[in-house]
């Protein structure tokens, strides 16, 4: 029970610590180079084995060599020690190396603090709700070890420190929430390493046959859209991401040496504006998605002259923005530079293509009619829309148009754009997303990776850029309902998702929507919480008058308030419930003390009563009666107690001093 403070750590505690350390590192395996993960878990394994066989505990020399090896490993994998990826490798290796030299309390603290840091670094890669829960459990686990070693007697059950730590964590939660809501958010990072590689699925800056059909195997969410007011018809939901102007015959891209400037000329919008809010998942690109012509851009973005929303920094965190678009507009004139760029041809042009285009030209009186001819061609010829097109190697457009005729949207878009240019109509390719799934519960659309799409835009003198989707000519269902990603054989026709097939199908789709709605709320209020949301929330709470100085004061005051409440709660928790009988008896004792007969510490109620009766015979009768009454009430458990008479008796007892 009693002992002087022990400074060594029991093997049981150490085992607990190393298991937690291993669990903290597990989610990092997918972000770290394989060799680094191997190093981490081998070292940890060595540590676990040496718990049982202390001879295997590495000495100073081996520890030094391991450290050198670790640093070398990081440098060879990342070519640097800075930045996110190398930093995470570094801190993970530090953690396992620290476990090798845990001997005293101090080492345990350092290990646990590094583990805290590793926990936080996980969120730089993944911000899912499940990961948060997993890591919170580990955080409480690590903290409970701190609690355990500060006890003198070890806890009877391992969950006892967990429970106490959970309790303290719950008390800390309001503070965390206040800080989370009120801590000022920056719109730009403090410093930038520029080293963070991408790894997420999503659209890239270029397409070649096969890029999008690969992407649509993923059902990851790209973004969610909430329309303000009546949403436009689904077949107009073309979310533009990037415009591709240039091609080498296989790949379409936008030459980085010829960037597209910011929109300066005036565009005349026609039709009704559409207002919407987008909750974008981080895609590590510098563009945002919008419908046709964005008229109002989010504050940190610019509208380029090909009507795209461009950012300075890549989107690495969930982002939300409001935008306003016009679905129809009149552009006034195409500058000679862009006309030339939108007409440039590659060396993949063949005579068959020329003949095809000349045939269309001869039978149409305008560009617009020629476009219709081309679409009819795709519609009437035996083209197949498939998720698993054959691999086109050299001159994919030629091969696709005249040989296999099986393709996905990027095949149709590239072939169509190339033919339009051949016909002298300026054309470009647009990539982005089309469609999405409507969530009835939350009244919004979820756009997933399998909604990725590519289409064309052609320049018509009388109206400007017009969107042409050659895929719609082949498979109009694609535009009206989402694709069901299937992993069938090459050439298998694409299936389309039909909502609510049967009772079970209906229920499943409901459940999916419910989960997605929760996901959206999580993204909106937690992951996407930013500077603008912070300001609007504060405005909503009536705190908008706060300037920076007061802001800090309010923050501190709120935290102080929470701490005061916790302190009050702790004080109340410890207070003993006093027996009301005892309280009345103590009042009786105070009255006797007031006339010079205080009760000594060692004196029992009977002894006290006897003494008073001896010294003050005049008081003997009431004192003895009260004492008997008191003992009867206080030491008779279970009986229903009637305190009224006893209280009255004591109230009537008013002893006086003699003489």
């Amino acid at each position: 029970m009693r002992q002087t403070i022990e400074h060594t750590l029991t093997p049981k505690l150490q085992l607990h610590l190393y298991l937690l350390t291993g669990l903290v590192l597990v989610p990092h395996v997918q972000h770290l180079p394989l060799v680094v993960s191997f190093f981490l878990f081998t070292t940890l394994g060595l540590r676990l084995i040496s718990l049982r066989l202390p001879n295997l505990q590495p000495g100073r020399l081996l520890l030094f060599l391991l450290t050198v090896a670790g640093v070398f490993l990081i440098y060879s994998q990342h070519q640097t020690l800075l930045g996110k990826d190398a930093g995470v490798s570094l801190i993970s290796i530090m953690l396992v190396l620290k476990t090798l030299e845990v001997r005293r309390r101090r080492d345990l603290y350092v290990t646990i603090f590094i583990a805290y840091f590793v926990i936080v670094t996980q969120f730089l890669f993944d911000q899912s709700f499940l990961l948060l829960i997993y890591l919170l459990v580990l955080l409480i686990g690590h903290t409970s070890l701190l609690l355990d070693i500060n006890r003198v007697t070890p806890a009877a059950h391992f969950y006892e420190p967990y429970r106490q730590t959970l309790w303290i964590t719950l008390q800390a939660l309001p503070i965390a929430i206040i800080l989370f809501v009120m801590f000022p958010r920056l719109s730009h990072p403090l410093w930038h390493f520029g080293l963070d590689g991408g790894g997420t699925t999503g659209l890239s800056e270029q397409i070649r046959p096969g890029t999008i059909s690969q992407l649509i195997q993923s059902s990851e969410v790209a973004f969610r859209v909430e329309f303000k007011g009546e949403p436009p018809p689904r077949e107009t939901h073309y979310w533009r991401g990037l415009v591709l102007w240039d091609t080498d015959g296989t790949t379409w891209f936008t030459d980085p040496d010829k960037p597209i400037p910011i929109l300066t000329s005036r565009i005349t919008p026609t039709g009704e504006p559409v207002e919407y809010e987008i909750y974008l998942e981080p895609h590590r690109k510098t563009w945002l998605f919008a419908l046709d012509l964005p008229a109002i851009a989010p504050t940190d973005s610019r509208i380029s002259s090909d009507f795209l929303l461009r950012l300075n920094e890549p989107v690495t965190q969930p982002k939300q923005y409001e935008a306003l678009s016009f679905t129809r507009h009149l552009s006034n004139g195409l500058s000679p530079t862009y006309r030339e760029r939108a007409l440039s041809l590659n060396n993949g042009i063949t005579d068959r293509q020329r003949q095809l285009v000349e045939k269309w030209r001869s039978s149409s009186s305008s560009d617009s009619e020629l476009v219709d001819q081309a679409l009819r061609y795709f519609n009437t010829q035996p083209f197949v829309y498939t998720l698993n097109p054959p691999r086109y190697v050299d001159n994919p457009v030629e091969q696709f148009l005249f040989e296999d005729r099986e393709g996905f949207c990027e095949h149709y878009a590239t072939a169509f754009t190339q033919l339009m240019r051949l016909a002298g109509i300026p054309a470009r390719i647009v990539i982005g997303y089309q469609g999405g799934e409507y969530n009835r519960l939350g009244d919004y659309y979820t756009i997933r990776q399998y909604d990725a799409h590519a289409w064309s835009e052609v320049w018509l003198e009388e109206e400007g850029w017009r969107r042409i989707d050659p895929t719609a000519a082949v498979a109009p269902e694609r535009i009206h309902s989402a694709i069901q990603p299937n992993f069938g054989s090459i050439g298998a026709p694409a299936l389309f998702m039909i909502d609510g097939q049967g009772f079970i199908g209906n229920g499943l789709s409901q459940l999916r929507m419910l989960l997605d709605t929760t996901g959206l709320q999580w993204r909106r209020w937690v992951l996407g919480y930013d500077r603008e949301q912070q300001f609007s929330l504060m405005r909503g709470l009536g705190f908008d008058f706060l300037t920076a100085g007061y802001w800090g004061a309010v923050l501190v005051a709120l935290i102080g308030l929470v701490l005061a409440l916790v302190a009050l709660q702790l004080l109340r928790q410890g207070r003993l419930k006093q027996d009301p009988v005892l309280a009345i008896y103590q009042r009786f004792c105070r009255r006797l003390a007031a006339i010079g007969y205080p009760r000594s510490v060692h004196e029992g109620p009977l002894d006290y009563s006897e003494r008073i009766s001896r010294e003050r015979p005049d008081l003997a009768s009431p004192v003895q009666s009260i004492t008997t009454h008191y003992i009867g009430l206080r030491y008779s458990e279970g009986k229903k107690r009637n305190l009224g008479n006893f209280a009255k008796q004591v109230s009537r007892f008013r002893p006086r001093r003699v003489g």
């Binding site: 969120f123 911000q127 006890r151």
Partner: protein, 319 residues
Amino acid sequence: MAMASLLVTSWLYRFRRHAHTDGHGGVVIRPRSLYILPTRQGMLLALVLFLMLAGSINYGSNLAYLVTFLLGGIWLSAILHTWRNLLGLEIRPAQVLPVYAGQEARFCLAVTNPSSLRRFGISLRHKKLMGESADLPDEASCLLHLPIRTQHRGRLALPEVSLHTVYPFGLFHAWSYARLDTSCLVYPRPAESGDPPADSCYTSSDDGDRGVGADDFVGLRSYREGDSPRHIDWKALARERGLVSKQFGGDRTERVDLDWDLLPEVDTETRLSLLCRFILQAESQSISYGLRLPDLTIAPGMGERHKQRCLAALATFGE
């Protein structure tokens, strides 16, 4: 420099708050007498939290913010829990056994947790000297010992002690100073050598045949308190005849008078050390002994209680 720091310390000492006395010899730890500061680990965690915050800001990750703030909240509420862990505890002096000068006095304090809140890792200290630690369940008491090395004979008053805790997480260190009125009786250190003065040391007893002595076994009588355990007839006890003491008699009873004035002319402390040695010697040889000090005379006797009385007289000599 040392002088200056001493002055500053003693000046600060004047402002030191102590646990509130409860009027019955004990003290209660009230909020105003409680000190709390972060430990080295607490400051290290604060530094780690700032690094985490910098990372969260830089990468703008809201979940990283959330976890950083949660740990920050835990850091802050740890202050309250550490504070509460010590608050309201009652300390009361408990019995301290006498020791010989040079030995460790084991001061003993009873710490009571009068609340329904469990307390953990409560430790007793005096300056840098670590005493014992204990966990205290709700409404429980426990004894904590604090060993203090003694130098001189006499009454060693318990110096100012403090009750400490770093529970729950070792991030904060709360403590409270307490002054308690208790002391340990320190007997003189027994002299290493020396024999009792020879003359008038042993006196024959008139009724040596029947009295107490050490030479011949004369019979049995029922046990009386104070009889030496080595005179108990253990075999009789084993035969379930109760506690019976063997009586020894002889031609002469051994009795020694330990007289201050008969000791060689040395300083007081040496004389007390010598007397201490003689008492222990006589006790171990079962010789009856009396003690004569300039201001006190103790009639001859024997046994643990007599020994303690004599040693206490030596310890407090001249007070």
